[in-house]
Amino acid sequence: APPADTLAAIKKSKVLVAGVKDSLPPFGYIDEKTRTIIGYDIDFINAIAAKLGAKVELKPVTSASRMPQLQEGNIDIIAATMTKNAERAKVIDFSHTYFFTGQKFITKKGTVKSLKDLEGKKIGTAKGSTSEQNVKKSIPTSTVLSFDDYPQAFLALQQGKVQAVTTDEAILAGILAKAPNKEQFEIPAVQISDEPYGLGMRKGDKNFVDFVNKTILEMEKSGEAKKIYDKWFGPNTQFHLQRNFKIVADK
């Protein structure tokens, strides 16, 4: 069974096991040359581990597998583009929001202007994600095809098997940036929900949650959090994004 006090357990074992995505640039993906996992999520984990004086062990997870993995104690923390919502919060505890985005669509250029254009269409997304549940709610007439991960869904879009792929804008941007024929696609200004990301920890694991929250607030204060954002999304990247959120304590 998982330890009751993860913080104490990590301090003892000196290993922090984190569940991360491994093919979702720029949040978590394999670097071709070093064959290691890198990304925005991983940098946060590294910072927390450094604070703990622990080594990092990264475990690839999918949207569907990350929560069971956590509950079964196979991982200590989820850093895998995970949206905070009330239903999930019943089962696990979230940190403060460490990344903020909204759910949008990626489509062939010029095919979608508004939500209406997607009615009755096939839309791809990932199994067990909030994106899947959101899109079913906001466009009930659509057929939702769920893949193991978003890049697979995007591949289906490229091959015409779906007409849109939906998930959080930052993820879509990451995929689009890496896509070989990006000029044919776009992310129309159609948003169906806000998506605050949190780090996931076991329910009631108060010491650990507090420690993680404290750490990321400190990172915000020291400017490290912004530095990480800029490293992956900022002006020197393909995204050229401005950071429009700050890490603050949840009410």
């Binding site: 569907a64 929560m67 069971p68 089962v91 791809g124 199994k127 067990g128 549940q133 095809l145 769920s146 893949f147 193991d148 697979q152 591949l155 289906a156 091959q159 015409g160 098997k161």
Partner: protein, 235 residues
């Protein structure tokens, strides 16, 4: 499991029950279509494999070896993600307008299973003692006639049980179609799990359904063995 709250009502009625039911329907559709197609393809390949014309025999051999020695899952991915490059655009468009994931799963299952079926048919033919051919030839039948009246009818009877077993395998293997988004039984069970966190109940339901399919088919094979095969078995 200590703190786990069982809640069977969730999967026995309402929305999640309907999900599972629709999953079962897709599983059955996929299986039945696969059975028919893989039998036809398997028969063709088996005949090719026994052809007296060596290029045809070799082609069939290469096909068999390659399909039998690669995982079904990889074949499913290959057809789903990889086939668009060599299928004509028109075909691609048409398939996309239908349900490409279903088609890809069906193609992969059909090809994979047909390889095993072809081998079963062939060994059924080879298992008929050569004395049967001799007896037929001695009566004055030509080679083809001997095949037609004596060898093939016996081979088909012998081949029925292993064939049915392949069909059972096909039904079980259809669960892999979930990986490309075909909403069959396993997919729906997993879906119920990620919506309700009641995985135990959902997987139990799916498992029971698969077992029921297996038991029914196994029972039919048993009956066939008892009733038909025993009577017609060579002494």
């Amino acid at each position: 499991m200590l703190s786990y709250q069982f809640d069977w009502s969730i999967i026995l009625s309402g929305k999640y029950f309907e999900w599972l039911l629709s999953g079962l329907k897709v599983t059955l559709q996929l299986s039945l279509a696969g059975i028919i197609l893989s039998f036809l393809l398997g028969l063709i390949v088996a005949v090719m494999r026994m052809s007296h014309f060596s290029p045809i025999r070799w082609a069939a051999w290469a096909f068999l070896e390659f399909t039998r020695n690669t995982p079904l899952l990889v074949q499913i991915f290959f057809w789903y993600f990889g086939s668009y490059k060599f299928l004509p655009t028109a075909v691609n468009d048409w398939l996309n307008a239908q349900s490409f994931e279903f088609a890809a799963a069906l193609i992969a299952l059909t090809i994979y299973t047909s390889a095993f079926i072809a081998e079963d048919i062939r060994s059924g033919v080879l298992s008929i003692p050569k004395e049967q051919m001799e007896a037929a030839r001695s009566a004055g039948f030509s080679y083809l006639r001997s095949m037609q009246y004596i060898i093939l009818p016996q081979a088909v009877r012998i081949t029925v049980p292993p064939l049915v077993n392949q069909f059972l395998n096909l039904a079980k293997n259809s669960s892999l179609a979930m990986t490309i988004g075909v909403m069959e039984l396993t997919y729906q069970a997993r879906q119920v799990e990620s919506y309700t966190f009641k995985g135990f109940e959902a997987f139990t339901a799916a498992t029971v359904v698969y077992l029921a399919i297996s038991i029914i088919i196994t029972f039919l094979v048993h009956q066939y063995n008892e009733r038909v095969l025993k009577l017609h078995k060579a002494a």
